[in-house]
Symmetry: C2
Subunit: 199 residues, 2 copies
DNA sequence: CTCCATTTGTCTATTAGTCTACAAACATTC
DNA sequence: GAATGTTTGTAGACTAATAGACAAATGGAG
């Protein structure tokens, strides 16, 4: 995941955001390949020159959307741990789980990549990020266990992603808080399982 | 109601709109007099210089908001008549009544002026516009009647405004379509009354 | 009243975005 | 395949918006 040096000028941020919003919006109605640059700048309400100032092709807009979403995913995942030295499960309150707020925030994006066949590849990208995050946590907490950290991380990552898939395809029937609670309870359940097995 | 020569540059339109949105937004939480120009440009996410390029004081922003709303009010009122030579009541379908769509569109504004004591003066401005519109219609259609057109127009204007007040204070409990239907039925009712009296 | 922080209005240099126009590449239709 | 319209990429002249700095005005708090 590459990172461009962040723009400082408000105008740049706003213009780029408008282009990203426009592209996502158009992708809900039209095939990516059929979307013209003229379409994008028209829905973004910008001059075509502005597009060429920041991007070379429409693909680059989408690349940046991915970057944005993944960065925000990482941030929201880590947010509950902020300032916490040692990982303590009982301090991880459901309200601290910002993950589903993140999904809701990028609703349009998630609907898109879950519905489209062609964009399915990005699902793995998301899971890979989730796995890395989980792996980092596990490394800090359960080094003595006999469980393979990679497998455990992947297990957790895809489990969470499963919840997201379910949520999105239910058309966001539940609140993000409800989803956070569900995740919390599932974690607790799994944790008590472990304790049971150890005893 | 005066009309500034419309700006052509997108940037101007966007910046001004951002300032208007910001002001309306702030007025929901803070007294007008306590809102600083710094507050406005910060919520609008614009440089302070941009404010001074378009306005001299915050009052001028609000003046333009009023202009916008009243212009849109007139347009939405007249929309059903577009292209119609002679006023025919039975052709005025409920779906053609765009008035409540207008109110919904400017929700924030209407809530503001109906809740605030200090902004109550603008209610009369709106009614005055509605009366003028009604007067124009009446002039075209019922010159032979013995009813005083001014009184009739004012009657109609305040009647419609009454519906708006009710709708706003119900916190938009009904759909704009429902409101349009209600208005339509009320007009029909009154019309058939008239026929009854004539016969 | 004095001190301190905030807001205000104004300014400059720089950059982003605008509009317009153009020729070349692409598509469609006949 | 010629003719038509649309999209593309690029360029130039112009204007709006930016960040940043500044002194003056305003406004509390001690």
């Amino acid at each position: 995941m590459y990172m461009k040096n962040f723009p400082v000028d408000r105008r740049v941020i706003k213009s780029k955001q408008a282009l990203k919003d426009a592209l996502l919006n158009l992708m809900n109605k039209t095939e990516f390949k059929d979307i013209t640059i003229t379409d994008i700048v028209q829905t973004a309400n910008l001059n075509r020159g502005t597009f060429y100032k920041h991007y070379e092709m429409k693909e680059h807009i989408f690349d940046e959307i991915i970057d944005d979403v993944l960065s925000d995913l990482i941030e929201s995942y880590r947010d509950p741990y902020k300032g916490v030295e040692i990982f303590e499960l009982n301090k991880l309150l459901p309200s601290g789980i910002k993950l589903f707020d993140h999904v809701e925030k990028h609703k349009e994006f998630y609907i898109l990549i879950l519905q489209s066949n062609k964009l399915a590849g990005f699902q793995h990208k998301i899971c890979a990020v989730l796995k890395e995050l989980a792996l980092k946590d596990l490394f800090d907490s359960q080094m003595e266990s006999s469980i393979n950290p990679e497998i455990n991380a992947s297990y957790q990552a895809y489990a969470i992603f499963g919840m997201i898939v379910e949520w999105v395809s239910s058309e966001f029937k539940y609140s993000s808080n409800y989803m956070a609670n569900q995740l919390f309870e599932l974690i607790m359940l799994r944790h008590s399982d472990n304790i049971y097995k150890i005893q």
